[in-house]
């Protein structure tokens, strides 16, 4: 196989030299920016989502004239698939890449394709970051660090002031947090909204499910890759039952996140509350223009304190400039730059020292009626218990259970049967 590969590759390159000679004019050689004798370094940096890292990279280039950084942005799924393809083929990976927290375990199984950041001096900056976030970037035995922490997604309760008012609930964030301080109180508030206004309390069954789920430290799989769903006291089952219960109470809507109907409902206030992470704020400000001043953010019951989303930055082993790459990444995720990412794109800092900065605390939001929302999320970030183990096939198994819930909601299916079916389908998945 190996020799065949070589042969094919050889044949390909020679033949291409001939067949493509004609179009070489159009190909601006991309290799002319490699080392030009002095210590000139070019770093490829792959990102996803709105990070604003292009601007920070430019600032870094100015400070370090020998470094040039090429930032490529993409959608989350495409970004990770492209990185996976490059790592799998063994060439073409960038010098630096973001990794999303849910995708992390898929890449951890191939830790030999990444630099161990502990070897590059990451121990020295460990104290700057939240423990649970930092530990998530380590392997199971804790001696290998795959990525440095960027942003996090602490969850909080987003709620509509006008709907709460109509339902006779308090509207001040502190009072709301005090009233809705347990899962039971959460239900009761939901019932009140339903009775008084006829509206649903939360947008979708997925969010109802995630209430407990995101807070759990052990969910679908253990590090050996075994399915935990059938174990007694499994957190997923608890989350599942709670979602079914909320649905039975009639306080769960059918607005799927990111759909036009959901966006419209956020705008018009067709549901009262959302269990959202910090980054949802950025979306709301840009897209729910009719709802200015109508949403607030409050701390969730501690049972629901959780993280949703956030990323790490890793250095694939292929790089020839690991040292320079590390220096840039370390600079990029430093507290001083995390506050900048927060101010420009709402990336929530994972370095607690930022929470004490005045620019952070006083960031008042027109959209949230002048509320300074950052401290609410900062409190949520510090309430989070510890690193969550997800596993390589977390997402597919999560989807199977979510499908079961959706069938319960939209087809009135029997929850117990759906749960059993989901377990069966999950087992099928894990055989592969």
């Amino acid at each position: 196989m190996r020799s065949l590969k070589k042969l094919v590759a050889l044949g390909l390159s020679t033949a291409l030299a001939f067949t493509l000679a004609a179009c070489n004019d159009n190909e601006k050689s991309s290799s002319d920016d490699v080392e030009k004798g002095d210590k000139q370094v070019t770093l490829d940096f792959w990102t996803f989502g709105a990070t604003g890292y292009e601007d920070l990279a430019k600032a870094y280039e100015e400070e370090n004239p020998n470094v040039k950084i090429k930032v490529r942005a993409a959608e989350t799924a495409e970004h990770h698939d492209a990185l996976f393809t490059a790592l799998s083929a063994g060439s073409g990976a960038p010098d630096i890449s973001m990794l999303e927290i849910d995708q992390l375990d898929r890449f951890k199984t191939a830790q030999d394709r990444f630099e161990n950041l502990y070897d590059l001096g990451a121990k020295d900056i460990k104290d700057q970051y939240l423990d649970w976030k930092w530990n998530t970037g380590e392997n199971n035995s804790g001696d290998f660090l795959i990525g440095l922490p960027t942003d996090i997604g602490p969850k909080a309760l987003y709620y509509r002031v006008d709907v709460f008012e109509e339902a006779g609930l308090p509207t001040d964030p502190d009072e709301v947090a005090k009233l809705i301080s347990t899962p039971e109180a959460f239900e009761e508030a939901g019932l009140k909204v339903k009775e008084q206004t006829g509206k649903v309390f939360i947008d979708s069954i997925e969010m109802a499910f995630r209430a407990y789920l995101d807070a759990a430290q052990e969910t679908f799989l253990n590090p050996e890759g075994e399915l935990l769903l059938e174990e007694s006291g499994n957190a997923v089952k608890e989350a599942f039952d709670y979602a079914v219960k909320l649905n039975d109470l009639g306080i769960v809507g059918k607005f799927e996140m990111w759909s036009p109907e959901w966006a419209n409902a956020v705008n018009k206030g067709e549901f009262a509350a959302e269990l959202g992470a910090g980054w949802l704020k950025g979306w709301m400000e840009g897209n729910a223009t009719e709802a200015i001043g109508k949403w607030r953010v409050a701390t969730l019951p501690s049972e629901f304190a959780a993280n949703w989303g956030g990323s790490f930055i890793a250095i694939p082993k292929e790089t020839k400039n690991a040292k320079e790459a590390y220096e840039f990444v370390q600079w990029l995720v430093s507290p001083d730059n995390q506050i900048k990412s927060f101010q420009s794109k709402g990336l929530f800092p994972s370095a607690p020292s930022v929470y004490e900065m005045d620019e952070f605390k006083s960031n008042e939001d027109e959209f949230f009626g002048g509320q300074a929302t950052a401290p609410v999320f900062a409190k949520a970030a510090q309430d989070i218990n510890g690193a969550v183990y997800k596993g390589e096939k977390y997402f597919p198994v999560y989807q199977e259970v979510l499908n079961a819930l959706k069938n319960v909601q939209s087809k009135g299916a029997d929850p117990n049967k759906e749960w059993e079916d989901a377990i069966k389908r999950s087992k099928d998945l894990l055989k592969r």
Binding site: T109, E261, L402
Partner: protein
């Protein structure tokens, strides 16, 4: 490159063949054979570029996929040989068979009608009296060049589950209850079939138009003299003369239908690889490879799909080809 001049050449056929017949007799057998040999060499030479490129970029992936079908591989760790177990996993998976069923149903509802409508549209667009020909030809092809991003958004808005969505509103006027287009068994399939039909009918139409262009004019003139009307012309001249092109489109549509991927994926969005109502075979395969990191079972699925496509393509094309075999030119 004056098209007219080539046409003249074609019309001189009669004279040409007479001329050629006399000359052929003068040829010695030996010379004739060397001519054959030259043709053979040209033949191989002319098809060589394709095969060279294929052996460079097509063959290796194909062989690699077949090899992978017998391995367990997550894309990053070393492979392990597992014999036929990948095939067993796939063939005993109810979801695989569901995806086969879905693919065939959507193929029948979304792809097959394209062929019928494609011929009708092509015939109409070629009518001499038709004004705004340019305009109609361009618009009918527009769906093919409209960005998938826009198409996906439009269709998800038109076919949204809510009672207020345009399609559900129109259905309510006819007294039909709102349909759940994103997760019901038939709703998803119907919406996707409409999308497939909409996007590809223009594509087939222009292939048929090319075919119609290759039909010699005199056939229609003769038919007119015999008093044939438009409909008869369509049935007795256009259709039979188009047969090779019909076979072509039946083949490509069969392959396309069984490999359906983009339309359901963009229509379903987030739930594309997580629900079974409209999961097609290639989506099943893609899910294995890129969502479950199981390249072995994905490759096994691809091999099974390859066999299925071959069978379907042979059945479909021979069904079409079998009806009223009329040999024109050289049909291998």
């Amino acid at each position: 490159m004056q098209p007219e001049s080539s046409r003249e050449k074609v019309e001189k056929n009669g004279e040409v063949s007479a001329y050629q017949a006399t000359k052929k007799q003068k040829l010695s057998k030996k010379r004739y054979r060397s001519e054959e040999k030259k043709d053979m060499i040209s033949g191989y030479l002319y098809i060589a570029p394709f095969f060279i490129i294929f052996s460079l970029v097509g063959l290796y992936p194909a062989l690699f996929s077949i090899y992978l079908g017998f391995q367990k591989w997550n894309g990053l760790s070393p492979m392990t040989f597992v014999g036929l177990s990948n095939f067993e996993i796939v063939l005993t998976d109810p979801l695989f068979w569901k995806s086969v069923y879905n693919t065939i149903v959507i193929g029948i509802m979304g792809t097959a009608p394209q062929l019928v409508f494609g011929i009708i549209f092509a015939f109409l667009l070629n009518l001499a009296f038709l004004k705004f020909k340019h305009f109609f030809r361009v618009t009918i092809f527009m769906p093919y060049i409209t960005s998938m991003v826009a198409v996906a958004l439009i269709f998800s808005v038109l076919f949204s589950d809510h009672e207020s969505s345009l399609v559900n509103y129109l259905l309510s006027l006819a007294g039909v209850d709102p349909v759940n287009w994103s997760s019901s068994e038939w709703g998803t399939k119907i919406a996707i079939s409409i999308m497939v039909f909409w996007r590809w009918v223009g594509y087939n139409t222009i292939i048929y138009l090319a075919g119609i262009q290759s039909i010699p004019n005199d056939l229609y003139e003769a038919a007119m003299i015999d008093g044939a009307n438009k409909f008869q012309q369509l049935i007795y001249i256009t259709m039979p003369m188009l047969k090779p092109f019909i076979i072509l489109t039946v083949f490509t549509s069969t392959v396309g239908a069984l490999q359906l991927f983009s339309e359901p994926t963009v229509f379903l969005g987030n739930s594309a690889f997580t629900r079974d109502e409209a999961m097609t075979i290639v989506m099943y395969l893609y899910r294995d490879a890129f969502k479950l990191q199981s390249f072995g079972t994905a490759s096994a699925t691809a091999i099974i799909l390859l066999v299925m496509i071959t069978i379907f393509a042979v059945i479909n094309t021979s069904l079409i080809a079998g009806k009223g075999r009329k040999k024109r030119g050289e049909n291998a």
